[in-house]
Symmetry: C2
């Protein structure tokens, strides 16, 4: 059966009923949290949709892995490293990170950078 | 290689550089358009992310198929039929439509209902 995660965010913040925020604890990651909106724990076997938030001054790890990412920015401004190229990103921008491409997301400015990130099933174990 | 589709929307409208809008021509669908942000034509083999917009008074078809959907509402208000249940949806709500579940999205009110819709690879041919 399908279901709805009701949005409960306000004042620019994004949050959902019954969805927990997990903060990354990793020396290569700074100020990053994730909320799993749709994924295997929610009964979705074929893809996952997560909401990431990076605090000002923060960044994800410098990453490269087999699964690809589909990203849509929902708040704030940032930079994304795609291979050898650095690009600015902001609200509404869609980013595709291809398999094994080196990538890193960084928050720029005083507001958090928030984005949806979709992964295929094989991304489950490696994020 | 990865890439970015830059957001170009304004005044509440959502649009992206180099992304075409396709209007559905089907007697069971009313006032619905789709923009493919990420998908097989863009080199993404493992999932697709599309942006759907339903005009006031419009709706998608009454559908049921093997692939599941992951949805996030980006603008407007609407209703979604999930199996036998009808639920209200609005900005930020995340909806999961499970495989073979009967579903239909309807715009409510005077503004378009816009949402991201993710599908796994097997959804390519059947939408």
């Amino acid at each position: 059966m399908g279901w709805i995660r009701k949005f409960t965010g306000r004042d620019g913040g994004l949050d959902w009923e019954g969805v927990e925020r997990d903060d990354y604890q990793d020396p290569h990651i700074r100020g990053v949290s994730v909320r799993w909106l749709i994924g295997p724990a929610e009964g979705a076997a074929n893809f996952a949709m997560r909401y990431f938030e990076i605090q000002p001054g923060g960044h994800t790890s410098l990453d490269s892995h087999a699964h690809d990412h589909g990203v849509l920015v929902l708040r704030g401004r940032g930079r994304v490293l795609l291979g050898e190229e650095v690009r600015k990103i902001g609200f509404g921008d869609a980013v595709y990170v291809s398999p094994y491409e080196i990538h890193q997301f960084t928050c720029v400015g005083d507001d958090p950078l928030g984005f949806l990130c979709v992964i295929p099933p094989r991304g489950r174990d490696t994020e």
